[in-house]
C-alpha cells in the first residue's frame, strides 16, 4: 500500500517535473493546451512541433493565429478559433472544427504573436499546404506563397521541390523560385529567372517583371532587360487576348439579357404585330415571382429559383392572357392604340407592385452554384451567374423555336400571323390562338424576369429600363424573325461592350442607340427582313 502511494507520488512528481524540464508536450492537444501560458520562445517551439506533427487541424489553428483569431478562455484556459461579430465571439473548437457556442470578448484573451512568430506561422502554414495530398492544393499554396516571398518561404519551397512529384505543382514551385530569383544579386541567376518566367501569364509575375523591362527600371544589364521586355510582351499579348475574350463574354452576357427581354416581344410584336409596352412589366412580374418563391422557401435558395422559372412563366403568361382578353383584342389592327393602352397597363402594374411589395428594391439571393467565379486560367475568369444566364437564354430561345416550328400550337400561330382570314377559314380558332400566343410571349417575359432577378435588384421600375432596348433588338433583327432577334441581341450586346472601354458606358449606349436609329432608317425591316406577302401588309 505504501509502495503504491510512493509510486503514485513519484509518478506525479515525474509528470510535474516533465512540465518544467521538457517544455514540449508530444501531441497536438497538449501543444494547444500549452499555448496560452507559453512565452514567445516556447510558442516558436510549439509551432515547429505542430508542423512536424502535421495534424490537419493544426493548419486551421495556425492560420487563425496568423489572423489574430485565436483566443483562450480566461476561466479554463481553453483555446478556440474565434470569429468576432459586434463584440461577441463565435467559438470554434480547434480539435474537431465544430462550433462551440459564443462568448463575450471580455472573457477571452488573445494568443499573441510577434513578427518572428508570424513569419514562422506563414512558412509553417505553407508547409502544411505543400504536403497536402491534393496536388491542386499544393499548386494553389505555392501560388499563394508567391505573392509574399521571403527567405523562409523560399527555403521551404526549395525543400518542397525535391519532394514534389506532380508536374503542375512542380511548375508552380519553379515559377515561384524564379520570381524570387529576379531579385538575386547574380545577373546570370536573374537572367535565368527571366527566361524561366517567359510564357507565364499570372498577374504577380507580370508585376514582378514589369519594372525590369522599363527603361528607368531597376535593371541595368541590357541583355537582361531585353529578355524581360520579351517576357513582358508575351504576357501582354495573352492579356490582350483574354481581355478581348472577356469583352466578348461580357458582350454576350449583356446580349443574352437583351435576347431574353426581347424574345417574348419577338412573339407578341413580331408574330402578332401587337406593341406590348407592358412587356417590361411582365418581366418585372416574373422577377417578383422569383422573389416570392424565395420567401416561401427560404432554406432552399436553389430549388426556389428553379421552381420560379415555371412559376414565373405561369404568372406572367396568365397575366398576358388576361391583358389580351380584356384589352388587346379590341385593338387588333390599330397598333398605335395598342401601344398606348398597354402603356397604361404597364403603369397600373408598376403601381400595383409598389402597393403590394413597397416601392423599395428587393434582392433575390443567388444560389451557391450560381455565385462565384469560374477561374479558367490566370488571366481569364467568368462569373457563374452570367454563364448560367447565357446558357439559359439560349435554352429558352431554342425551346421557343421548337414550339413555333414543331408543335401544333406553333403551326397555328404561324398560320394566323401569315393570313388570319385564311387560317380562320381552315378552322383555326384565331381568337384562342391570339390569346395563347400573347400568353406565350408574356410567359417568356416572366422567365426573363427570373434571370434578371439574378443580375439586379427587383423593383417596380425593373421592366421600364428594358423596354426601349428590347424593342430596338426586335426591330434591328427584323420583325417576325426569331433568329434575327437572337443575332441582333447578341450583336448589340457585344458592340455595346466593345465601345465601352473607349467611350464609357453611357456614351456607348447612346452610340448604339444612334446607330440603331440610323440603321432602321436605312433598312426599316431590320437585318433579316421577312420575305413574302406577310411582309407587305402594314
Amino acid at each position: 500500500m505504501l509502495l503504491v502511494l510512493l509510486a503514485l507520488c513519484l509518478l506525479w512528481m515525474s509528470t510535474a517535473r516533465a512540465d518544467d524540464a521538457a517544455p514540449l508536450p508530444v501531441d497536438f492537444p497538449g501543444l494547444v493546451a500549452a499555448l496560452p501560458q507559453a512565452d514567445f520562445a516556447a510558442k516558436q517551439a510549439i509551432v515547429t512541433r505542430m508542423t512536424e506533427l502535421h495534424v490537419p487541424q493544426a493548419r486551421v489553428l495556425l492560420a487563425a493565429w496568423l489572423d489574430n483569431r485565436l483566443e483562450s478562455r480566461r476561466s479554463d484556459g481553453k483555446v478556440f478559433v474565434v470569429e468576432e461579430h459586434d463584440g461577441t465571439l463565435v467559438l470554434v473548437d480547434p480539435f474537431d472544427g465544430k462550433g462551440a457556442g459564443e462568448g463575450a470578448a471580455d472573457d477571452f484573451e488573445r494568443v499573441r504573436s510577434n513578427n518572428a512568430l508570424r513569419k514562422l506561422l506563414k512558412v509553417s502554414i505553407a508547409q502544411f499546404d505543400l504536403k497536402d495530398p491534393d496536388p491542386r492544393v499544393r499548386a494553389a499554396a505555392v501560388r499563394q506563397m508567391r505573392r509574399d516571398l521571403d527567405e523562409d518561404t523560399v527555403t521551404a519551397l526549395r525543400a518542397a521541390l525535391t519532394q514534389e512529384k506532380d508536374g503542375r505543382a512542380q511548375h508552380e514551385i519553379r515559377v515561384a523560385l524564379a520570381v524570387s530569383d529576379l531579385g538575386a544579386g547574380d545577373a546570370a541567376v536573374r537572367l535565368a529567372a527571366v527566361r524561366a518566367l517567359d510564357g507565364e501569364t499570372a498577374a504577380d509575375v507580370y508585376n514582378a517583371l514589369k519594372p525590369l523591362a522599363q527603361d528607368s527600371g531597376t535593371e541595368s544589364d541590357a541583355s537582361m532587360r531585353a529578355a524581360a521586355i520579351g517576357a513582358v510582351r508575351h504576357i501582354e499579348v495573352w492579356r490582350n487576348f483574354y481581355e478581348a475574350l472577356e469583352t466578348l463574354f461580357f458582350g454576350l452576357s449583356l446580349g443574352s439579357v437583351l435576347v431574353l427581354a426581347a424574345i417574348g416581344l419577338a412573339i407578341t410584336f413580331g408574330v402578332m404585330g401587337v406593341i406590348n409596352m407592358a412587356h417590361g412589366e411582365l418581366m418585372m412580374l416574373g422577377a417578383y415571382t422569383a422573389y416570392v418563391m424565395q420567401q416561401l422557401m427560404p432554406h432552399h435558395v436553389g430549388a426556389a429559383l428553379l421552381l420560379s422559372v415555371p412559376a414565373a412563366f405561369l404568372v406572367s403568361g396568365l397575366a398576358g392572357v388576361a391583358i389580351e382578353r380584356t384589352v388587346v383584342r379590341y385593338l387588333y389592327g390599330r397598333p398605335l392604340e395598342t401601344l398606348l393602352a398597354t402603356f397604361g397597363l404597364s403603369l397600373i402594374m408598376q403601381q400595383l407592385v409598389r402597393s403590394v411589395f413597397s416601392p423599395l428594391n428587393r434582392s433575390v439571393a443567388t444560389p451557391e452554384w450560381m455565385s462565384g467565379l469560374w477561374q479558367v486560367n490566370d488571366l481569364f475568369s467568368l462569373t457563374w451567374n452570367r454563364v448560367y444566364i447565357l446558357v439559359f437564354s439560349l435554352v429558352v430561345f431554342l425551346l421557343l423555336v421548337l414550339i413555333l416550328n414543331r408543335t401544333p400550337l406553333g403551326l397555328k400561330v404561324r398560320a394566323v400571323a401569315q393570313n388570319r382570314g385564311m387560317a380562320r377559314a381552315m378552322g383555326v380558332r384565331t381568337e384562342r390562338v391570339d390569346a395563347l400566343t400573347f400568353g406565350l410571349g408574356s410567359g417568356i417575359a416572366g422567365v426573363a424576369g427570373v434571370a434578371l432577378s439574378q443580375l439586379t435588384n427587383v423593383g417596380p421600375n425593373l421592366g421600364q429600363s428594358y423596354i426601349v432596348d428590347s424593342f430596338m433588338v426586335v426591330v434591328f433583327g427584323g420583325v417576325g424573325n426569331l433568329w434575327g432577334t437572337l443575332i441582333s441581341g447578341m450583336g448589340l450586346g457585344v458592340v455595346n461592350k466593345l465601345l465601352e472601354p473607349y467611350a464609357g458606358a453611357v456614351i456607348a449606349k447612346i452610340l448604339v442607340l444612334v446607330f440603331l436609329i440610323m440603321f432602321i432608317q436605312r433598312r426599316p425591316r431590320g437585318l433579316f427582313p421577312q420575305k413574302g406577302r406577310a411582309a407587305e401588309g402594314t
Binding site: 402594374m349 426601349v468 456614351i507 440610323m518 432608317q521 426599316p524 402594314t538
Partner: protein, 375 residues
C-alpha cells in the same frame, strides 16, 4: 377610276372634322381670352383677402398648363393630322427649355452661389475653367431666342430627313422617336455634356430683366404662354385647313396613294414635323421659367407618351381637343398627386386603357357623337 373614287371616300372625314372644328375653335378662343383677361385681374387687382383672389401659385400652374397645351397641339398636329405617332416630342420640348435655361443661367451672372461672373455654378463646381463654346452667345436674348427655335427645329429636320425619306412609318417611327429622346436623356445626364448633368439648370433669377419671383412677372409669363398657345393654335389651324394640310391628311389616310398621285410625301411630313418640333420647343422655353428648373428627366420617354395620352383623351385631329386633354389630365395630375399620390398612376394607367378602348376619338369625339345623336 375606282381607285380615285375610293380615295375620295377616304378623305371625306376631313371636311367633317373641319366644320366641327369651327365651333370647338370658337370655344377655345373664347376660353383662352377669358382666362387671359381674368387671371391677371384676379391675381393682381383683387386683394389677397378676397375669396376671388387667385394665388400666384395657381397663376404659374395655369401658365404651365398653357405650355403643356402648346406641346399637346404640336403632338396633335403630327399625330392627329399626319398619323405620325411621335413618342419623342418632349425631346424638342426639353431642347427649347434648355436653350431658355441656358439664357437664364447666364443672366444669373455673379449672383450665383460661387459668384463667378462668367461660369454657371455647376461648372464652377465641376472645376471647369472656361465656358464651353456652345454656351457662348446665350447671354443675349437676341441669340437665345433663335436658338429656342433652331435647336429643336434642326434636330427634327435631321431626324425627319432620314426617317421620312427612308419611309419609316407607323410603329417603327414611334420606336425610333422614343429611342431618340432616350438617347438624349442619357446624354444630358452626363456632367461632361455641360448642361448641368443630373441636376440640370435651375436657380434662375430673372428673365429679360424681370425678377422671376415677382407676381407681375408670373402673370406676364402666363400671358405670354396664353398668347403663344393662341398663336400656335391659329397657326396649326391655318396649316390644317390649307392645301398643305389637306395633303398631310391624305398622307395619314392613304400614304401610298398620295405618293402615287405624285406628292412628295416625305417633304410634307418633314416640314410638318419640323414645325411641330419648333412649336414644342417654344412650349419648353415657356415652361422652364415658370417651373424654375429644367433637367434631363424632361427627356424621359414616359413624358412623351404622357403627352400623347393628353391628346388622345381630349380627342385627336381637332387641336382644341389636345388643349382640353392637356389641361384636364394635368389638372387631375396636380390634384391627385397631392391628394392621393398612390392613386395617380392607377388613374393615369386606366385613362390610357379606357380612352383607347372606349373613346378612340377622345372627349371631343364623344361629345360630338352625343350632340350629333341628340340633334
Amino acid at each position: 377610276m375606282i381607285r380615285i373614287m375610293r380615295l375620295g371616300q377616304v378623305r371625306h372625314a376631313a371636311p367633317a372634322a373641319a366644320s366641327g372644328g369651327d365651333f370647338g375653335g370658337r370655344v377655345f378662343y373664347a376660353v383662352l381670352l377669358a382666362a387671359a383677361l381674368l387671371v391677371p385681374l384676379l391675381n393682381l387687382a383683387v386683394p389677397e383677402s378676397s375669396a376671388l383672389h387667385l394665388s400666384t401659385y395657381t397663376v404659374t400652374l395655369l401658365g404651365k398648363y398653357m405650355s403643356y397645351a402648346l406641346l399637346a397641339i404640336a403632338v396633335d398636329l403630327v399625330w392627329g393630322y399626319c398619323g405620325i405617332l411621335t413618342l419623342g416630342h418632349t425631346a424638342f420640348f426639353a431642347l427649347g427649355g434648355y436653350a431658355m435655361g441656358m439664357y437664364m443661367m447666364r443672366q444669373i451672372g455673379s449672383r450665383g452661389v460661387y459668384g463667378d461672373p462668367l461660369l454657371p455654378d455647376f461648372m464652377v463646381f465641376l472645376n471647369w475653367k472656361a465656358l464651353p463654346w456652345y454656351w457662348h452667345g446665350f447671354d443675349s436674348f437676341a441669340f437665345a431666342l433663335p436658338m429656342i427655335l433652331l435647336a429643336p427645329g434642326l434636330l427634327a429636320l435631321a431626324f425627319g430627313w432620314f426617317a421620312f425619306r427612308s419611309r419609316v412609318t407607323g410603329v417603327y417611327l414611334s420606336i425610333i422617336t422614343q429611342a431618340l429622346t432616350y438617347a438624349l436623356m442619357l446624354a444630358f445626364f452626363r456632367n461632361e455634356m455641360g448642361f448641368g448633368g443630373n441636376n440640370g439648370l435651375t436657380d434662375f433669377k430673372d428673365l429679360l430683366g424681370f425678377d422671376l419671383h415677382r407676381d407681375s412677372t408670373r402673370v406676364g409669363l402666363f400671358l405670354v404662354s396664353a398668347g403663344a398657345l393662341g398663336l400656335g393654335y391659329a397657326a396649326c389651324r391655318h396649316i390644317a385647313a390649307s392645301r398643305f394640310g389637306r395633303v398631310v391628311q391624305a398622307i395619314r389616310d392613304a400614304e401610298s396613294r398620295t405618293r402615287f398621285i405624285g406628292y412628295r410625301v416625305e417633304n410634307y411630313k418633314l416640314w410638318l414635323f419640323v414645325f411641330s418640333a419648333v412649336l414644342a420647343g417654344i412650349a419648353g422655353a415657356l415652361y422652364v421659367p415658370q417651373v424654375g428648373i429644367i433637367n434631363p428627366g424632361e427627356f424621359a420617354p414616359i413624358n412623351s407618351i404622357e403627352v400623347v395620352i393628353w391628346v388622345a383623351v381630349g380627342g385627336r385631329n381637332t387641336l382644341y381637343g389636345a388643349v382640353l386633354g392637356a389641361v384636364l389630365v394635368n389638372f387631375a395630375k396636380t390634384w391627385l398627386t397631392a391628394a392621393l399620390p398612390e392613386v395617380w398612376l392607377y388613374a393615369l394607367g386606366a385613362l390610357f386603357v379606357v380612352v383607347t378602348v372606349f373613346l378612340p376619338q377622345g372627349i371631343v369625339g364623344f361629345l360630338r357623337q352625343r350632340l350629333g345623336a341628340g340633334s
